[in-house]
Symmetry: C2
Subunit: 586 residues, 2 copies
Amino acid sequence: MLRSHHCGALNENHSDEEVTLAGWVQKVRNKGFIVWVDIRDRYGITQLVFDQERTPEMVYKKSLVLGREDVIQIKGKVIERESKNPSMTTGGIEILVEELTVMNAAKTPPFTIENQTDGGDELRMQYRYLDLRRTPVRENLIFRHKVTMAVRNFLSQADFIDVETPYLIKSTPEGARDFVVPSRMNSGQFYALPQSPQTFKQLLMIAGFDKYFQIVKCFRDEDLRADRQPEFTQIDCEMTFIEQEDVLLQFEAMIQHLIKEIKGVTLEDFPRMTFTEAIEKYGNDKPDIRFGMTFGELNALAQNKGFNVFDSQELVVGIAVPGGANMTRKEIDAWIEWVKRPQMGAKGLVWVKCNEDGSYKSTVDKFFSEDDLSQWADATGAKAGDLIFVMAGAAQATRTQLSALRMEIAEQLGLRKSDRFAPLWVTDFPLLKWDDETQRHHAMHHPFTSPKKEDLELLDTDPGKVMANAYDLVLNGNEIGGGSIRIHDTALQEKIFRLLGFTEKEAQEQFGFLMDAFQYGAPPHGGIALGLDRLVAILSGSETIRDFIAFPKNNNGRDVMIDAPAMLEDAQLEELCLKSLPKDPL
Amino acid sequence: MLRSHHCGALNENHSDEEVTLAGWVQKVRNKGFIVWVDIRDRYGITQLVFDQERTPEMVYKKSLVLGREDVIQIKGKVIERESKNPSMTTGGIEILVEELTVMNAAKTPPFTIENQTDGGDELRMQYRYLDLRRTPVRENLIFRHKVTMAVRNFLSQADFIDVETPYLIKSTPEGARDFVVPSRMNSGQFYALPQSPQTFKQLLMIAGFDKYFQIVKCFRDEDLRADRQPEFTQIDCEMTFIEQEDVLLQFEAMIQHLIKEIKGVTLEDFPRMTFTEAIEKYGNDKPDIRFGMTFGELNALAQNKGFNVFDSQELVVGIAVPGGANMTRKEIDAWIEWVKRPQMGAKGLVWVKCNEDGSYKSTVDKFFSEDDLSQWADATGAKAGDLIFVMAGAAQATRTQLSALRMEIAEQLGLRKSDRFAPLWVTDFPLLKWDDETQRHHAMHHPFTSPKKEDLELLDTDPGKVMANAYDLVLNGNEIGGGSIRIHDTALQEKIFRLLGFTEKEAQEQFGFLMDAFQYGAPPHGGIALGLDRLVAILSGSETIRDFIAFPKNNNGRDVMIDAPAMLEDAQLEELCLKSLPKDPL
């Protein structure tokens, strides 16, 4: 052992003890005749004192050249401080140093290693190992560790078995793009990295494992949006002989347990909402219900009153901004500009001020009476002192735009409180969604999701209307998990593959093993997968998943620290019987 | 819930209760007027009874067509059995069935789903989900789950933090061959899958994480030997401000805890042995010390006595076979043939019987006196009634051969008891090994292993003599883990890379980030990685790791169930800017 205690361990109870500490130099204060050095490790900071009178001369001299981030080992005696710092666990003592060893001197780091750093994003990514030294970053990962341990122990105690599924599997073109791995032993052939262990967990249910979980890396080769990672971590779970209700209750209990254990907060039963209701009330299938501002549909109230902008549109819909009647014209105009930005694409906003005196003031006073506007207020839940924003247009696009506006206003009004947890189950998703580009149905969740029994006949007549036994878990406006009851019957699975445009041959080649397995006694089963990166971020009051990943990649999928991906040696490609082509071959 | 209880839950205390069970049909016994059906799930088996008198007729009729592995749900009443089976937890009761639903009928499985099956290896791999239904296979994976949970909780309680390291990293040609992953976004460039998180865990130590662990998949594209897998799982650990002794004690404690918790066995302090001693006494750096049969070197006793076969050889070495004096000539000849097989390549065996009456009988009586042979017996530890086998030849090859003979004899004599646990630390490995083919040194462990301080000067003068701060954990003759104290100093790391034949440019390109990191305050650190697959197998009394992996690959690296790897669609290759070449281009 190169230390007798860590740097967060000592207090007045250790007075006069001889101790050995090791750690990093956090700070040096040289008063001319006395040098104080803060020594840091994962557990805390301890103050060292080097003193012209009491410290051996050679040691004192060595202390004068210590710099930030040097790794040192010291021996010395614990003494009580003259002026104590009660905000630190070690604040009552300091170490009078007798021996000092510089284990490894440090160059000056490229940014300060403090809670607030001066380093930019790229620089901190390049020196990620230094960024990880900062307390908030390290604490994020320790928090993640605690969450994963709590999840594992909860599920294990609930009889779920942790089973590792393979990483080298087969590419299936349905869904997102796979990362692939050339096989040297089977030249010309490739493995794929799993986008999720979906089919394997289903096979485990067919194998009788009853309850399965795994905290597992998954891979998707997608064009990265901000805060998406090519590799991400899932809490993957599956259960047998259950119905949707059982899955919801089981994982509601897990999240309640987690939030109780990690945050000390007790959550009530989770509210539930159908997909349709979520879209109508929030314009969004992952609504943040920490605050109101639900949508009020105004078609019946606002159309056919002579205001052309509304009359010609599919949907007129508004929200109430709490206290918004106080907004200046300039503030309102800024919101109008905000929705008109190209990435939003709205045409504009109609607004109505609900004055404290009960009167209304709007941009459309010419077309609507006070009585009309009062009905709008009822429909949007606006009270005296609020402002109503109204949008009109094609239903889907308008809801999406109004949802974005709702979230942004709430953000600015401080309504999205990071210490409040508002979980929500969203249920009754459509099984399929129509894709204009490919002119066929795509699976809303994935091809293994079971239709609702009562909709089975619609599969032949009007497949777009079929509802799925699928559910999403939403937390604070983020989808943190999704799942479904699965198909466990060959004929139904074949029918779904056909609807999704698979030929019989394609279905057989890609998923023949699963459809075979269904024929040897497949039980009803279903499950859920939760995004660990996001769950941890939200539990921690953040929404930036990158802050909760030890070595994240940037938006180009690069690890700028190790500089990956990189060129291979020619011999490696030759062994794989592969040739790289120029990006745009003629 | 599709069941009120699982199939291992019910006993006499539930008499007269109405219950719902769901599971697989294990067995049907039709006595003409009464049908007994065993229903199975992960938790147990419950006996159902369908009775011409007491069961509704329609239900009784349905029971007549039930077949093995059908998935059924039943409702019925718990009744006490007339003849109880005390060896089953549910053996006191049966269920008088009132309702029967066939949830999914099963085709006849391709092999019997019993503890002893009639299915061959290939067939069971193809229908792995059916093989997993067999109790011993399922129990193996549940055992694995328990081991991993115990490991995680032990390490977490010892302040180790579980940190996920990336799977998409950079290829480094040193060591085994990497699996690579083409990058679509950075065309012509590749990620590699990690052979281990070695450099990342070192960076975590430099980042101040102090203690790290991860149960993590690792990948090696090697030509597969029997019982090697291209993807395998490691318990990966690293610690800061420690010396070798600290690592040994920490992981000794972990294994002791595991074996106590999982097997109920208390282990003493682990014995330790240097690499040199292991080679000399067992011909092997992972000796099985559950039994004796240690090597006796006979050069001084057996050379220069006129027996040419010995005189010309580098090493003459023997082992005592307990009770072997009873072997027939035919049995001894079989052993001689065994060592002469091409894969062993020995020239033969000299044998000496130590008769119960104190006399000796050997193949070399002409050259050696009774007194000579008595000295051989002393050197090999042979007692009256034992047999001595002696081999001679080049030292390294002869030790390897004699080691294989020792293990095979012990296996046949039943000395390798699977319920005994004999751990051993092997220490003091050489840092480097010379490779004749490439005419350079290779790292015995890996390039990050630190040389022993006292040998640092030898690096310049006689690098082959340098000892490493490296250690292996051996259990029952299997290496289950290995680790080292790492280099944490740029200059020394550069020197080692040079010794291993890296140019400065290569070292910089591949490991520049690590050598950079060493300059910003790298603490002394070290760790260990344990092979989880093998550890679990050995704890379970087996040595076949494939039995402890849910979905293993065969010896050609194929998953025969899902048929991976497989050809990609042309469009996928095009997107990756890759072209497959024929295996042997002209």
